[in-house]
């Protein structure tokens, strides 16, 4: 076990095993979760389906951050900027160029990949908190940039853009919400499988080598600069896809939607879900979507404070987030089986 992995997975023997198990769920559990995700929408209201869609979308965005931070060890508080670029790319292409929504998603991914890759170039010189600060600046600047005069013709300025929700194709008998949910689910599963395989591949090992020890990695022949920017690009690309799907699901884009609060929420989601544990991304997304609602039902005026207290509890009781909870659950199950 390397020095830096210890930092990430401090004091957890279960994580010691193979990194694969540390990053994903077992095949059986994965299939069970997938089956649940496939079946549940048939039985619930459209509103719940919409919330589940948002869960997958934010889950994707957290997953992207997880690849960056958990994979290559770089921090970013600027994910909201990539999310905004993805959302606006889709919205502008759909509303001004009449391009099919499904086609706008790979375009967003490409645009955001390029944006992230280019941003990663200068950011290479920074590390740790300085990188976090640089990305923070990007997140703060983004809403302002979207309001720029010469872009207003396309972006709609402060007023934003209304996006048309797609109907189910081929006359399938399902609501717009349900169709969008399954569409999102397919994209999410594809990206999830891609991410898991990416982290298991040569590139993934290079990411983790950089995370664990940059000097050691470069002396082993890893092109540190290339892989760091690549991690940024991939992360931005996936966030862009999430942004596109988000714009279609919410049917509206405006600068106010993509403020620094979003970036912080995503960061929070990653920490709650467990840094470096991909399935945790979706647990983290559930936290940032549902916990504010719970906090609100406890106290309207103090919803922020209640949210803070809940967050404190999570950090103190399970500092490694959902990953730790999952491991504890597994150990418990193992003990029960032995008895």
């Amino acid at each position: 076990m390397s020095a830096a992995e210890e930092v990430v997975a401090e004091g957890h023997e279960a994580v010691e095993a193979v990194p694969k198990r540390a990053m994903t769920l077992g095949t059986g559990t994965s299939l069970l979760v997938l089956a649940a995700l496939l079946i549940v929408p048939v039985f619930v209201k459209n509103f719940i389906i919409f919330q589940m869609t948002m869960l997958l979308i934010y889950g994707l965005a957290v997953l992207a951050l997880n690849i960056l931070t958990g994979g290559s060890g770089q921090f970013s508080l600027g994910q909201s900027a990539f999310y905004a670029v993805g959302a606006y790319t889709s919205a502008v292409l759909m509303e001004h160029a009449n391009i099919n929504y499904a086609l706008t998603i790979p375009i967003s991914a490409a645009v955001c990949f390029a944006f992230g890759y280019l941003f990663g170039k200068p950011a290479l010189r920074l590390s740790g908190v300085y990188l976090a600060l640089a990305t923070f600046a990007l997140a703060t600047a983004m809403p302002q940039l979207l309001k720029l005069n010469f872009l207003e013709h396309w972006t709609g300025g402060v007023q934003g853009l209304v996006v048309t929700k797609p109907d189910a194709p081929f006359g399938l008998p399902m609501s717009q919400d349900m169709w969008l949910y399954y569409f999102t689910l397919v994209v999410t599963v594809a990206i999830y499988i891609f991410s898991v395989n990416l982290l298991r591949s040569r590139s993934g090992r290079a990411f983790m080598a950089i995370r664990d020890n940059e000097i050691a990695a470069s002396s082993m022949g890893v092109n540190v600069a290339l892989y760091k920017t690549l991690a940024f690009g991939v992360s931005a690309g996936i966030t862009g896809v999430a942004g596109s799907l988000g714009a279609i699901a919410v049917q509206f884009v405006a600068p106010d939607s993509y403020t620094i609060t979003l970036a912080i929420s995503l960061f929070l989601g990653m920490v709650v879900g467990g840094v470096g544990w991909l399935p945790g991304s979706f647990v983290g997304a559930a936290f940032i979507i549902f916990v504010p609602n719970m906090a609100e039902s406890i106290s309207k005026g103090l919803s922020g404070a209640v949210f803070g207290v809940l967050l404190f509890l999570v950090i103190y009781l399970v500092p490694h987030g959902a990953r730790q909870a999952a491991i504890l659950g597994q150990q418990l199950a193992g003990k029960l089986r032995k008895n």
């Binding site: 459209n46 509103f47 005069n149 106010d256 939607s257 309207k300």
Partner: protein
């Protein structure tokens, strides 16, 4: 043209009256989701947290007002259930909360949701679902588009309305004026500027210079200098509080003394005038439509007495100096009025019909003489304001109530 429109309006009123009477005669009870013999569910979305949480006072006042109505027996025997959610002023969250209200809580309508971009985000959804989005708390003029969005209605005077009133004032008092405009480069500033030009009509050439500033600029000083150089003798400052104060200060510094008009959003004495300086702010003009809770001239006013009593009994923690409280009270009063007019026909269609047939309704906390009027082709409830002038340490109202309608 006006005559034709008037006739059409009369027909509509006649039609509305007929249907209202016939439904009373039949006295049949009709309900949509959210209404029953005992209850009316009203949804609301407010920024209780996040950057705009100062506006939460509006939601709290509204809730307190509905509690008062319930304590007094409700509306035609039905209690109001006010479900208010937090969106933290983030449009995606507004969509989620609106869908929760409509699809999960099954409200009859959404009332008084706050913010321009937040309401823009749900407007299409509400109109597709045919659920009333009533009395939107935002000054944008886009809530008055009954043809395209028949389920969305504003409440407060739009920025355009306010600007038209200044245009009327200038044309009347200073027909030879040269107007210099400083405006914020966003929807607020642009809406306003459009209203000003519409109000001036053929005389829009009175504007000698339009200067835009961005909120990212630290100060508006150089714009004020340019405006002075243009030779303008009327300075209209379409600015948010910080910039308004800077504008007033800079004009005095460079010894420029035009007639100054500032927008209603920046008339806070403590937040704008005091920092700029009382001395140099004498004679500044603006307009208002609500009674100011801090102004002793209303202490003897019947409406404000009711308002203060309400606060003492149902919302003792509210700050009566906060303009949001008087705003929420008046908006909730309008909502209750519409529901009373609906009688036993509590369908969403009838709610919109009644909301579009308010006649001369005057909530307690609006200035005397300001009345709410709507029609099927007019979804802008408040269109009147009164001019005011800063004197001593407070605003003094003067002149008549001015309507912002064009060509009157």
């Amino acid at each position: 043209m006006t005559a034709v429109r008037f006739q059409v309006a009369t027909l509509w009123v006649a039609f509305a009256l007929c249907t209202a009477m016939s439904s009373e005669v039949l006295a049949q009870k009709k309900y949509d989701s959210g209404a029953s013999d005992t209850e009316i569910k009203i949804g609301n979305i407010m920024p209780y947290s996040g950057p705009a949480s100062a506006y939460a006072a509006i939601g709290k006042a509204e809730e307190a007002y509905f509690n008062k109505i319930n304590a007094e027996g409700g509306i035609n025997g039905r209690k109001i259930k006010f479900i208010s959610y937090d969106d933290a002023y983030s449009p995606p969250k507004t969509v989620e909360q609106a869908r929760k209200l409509v699809e999960s809580d099954g409200v009859l309508l959404i009332f008084g949701s706050l913010g321009t971009s937040t309401n823009s985000a749900i407007r299409k959804y509400m109109n597709e679902k045919k659920v009333p989005q009533l009395f939107v708390a935002s000054g944008a003029s886009k809530w008055n588009e009954p043809k395209q969005y028949p389920w969305t209605m504003g409440w407060q005077p739009s920025y355009q309305s306010e600007a038209r009133i200044y245009a009327k004032y200038i044309m009347k008092e200073r027909p030879q004026a040269k107007i210099g405009v400083l405006y914020q480069n966003d929807d607020f500033g642009k809406d306003y500027l459009k209203g000003l030009k519409d109000g001036l009509g053929a005389k829009a050439s009175m504007i000698v210079l339009e200067e835009a500033y961005n909120t990212s600029e630290p100060a508006v000083d150089e714009h004020v200098v340019k405006l002075k150089a243009s030779g303008a003798d009327v300075f209209i400052s379409i600015t948010t509080p910080k910039f308004t104060a800077q504008g007033i200060k800079k004009a005095a510094e460079i010894n420029w003394h035009p007639v100054q008009i500032i927008s209603n959003v920046s008339t806070s004495v403590g937040g704008v005038i005091e920092p700029a300086g009382f001395e140099i702010s004498q004679g500044i003009l603006s307009a208002s439509y609500t009674k100011d809770g801090s102004d002793p001239q209303w202490d003897a006013d019947d409406g404000m007495k009711k308002f203060y009593n309400f606060l003492a009994q149902y919302d003792p923690k509210a700050n009566k100096l906060d303009a949001g409280v008087a705003f929420g009270y008046a908006a909730a009063q309008t909502m209750v009025k519409v529901l009373q007019m609906c009688g036993n026909d509590l369908t969403r269609e009838n709610v919109m019909k009644q909301a579009a047939s308010l006649k001369d309704f005057a909530p307690d906390t609006l200035l005397p003489g300001i009345k709410i009027n709507t029609a099927p082709d007019n979804f802008a409830p408040i269109e009147q304001l009164q001019m005011m002038r800063f004197k001593g340490r407070k605003w003094e109202l003067f002149g008549d109530i001015i309507s912002s309608e064009l060509g009157q």
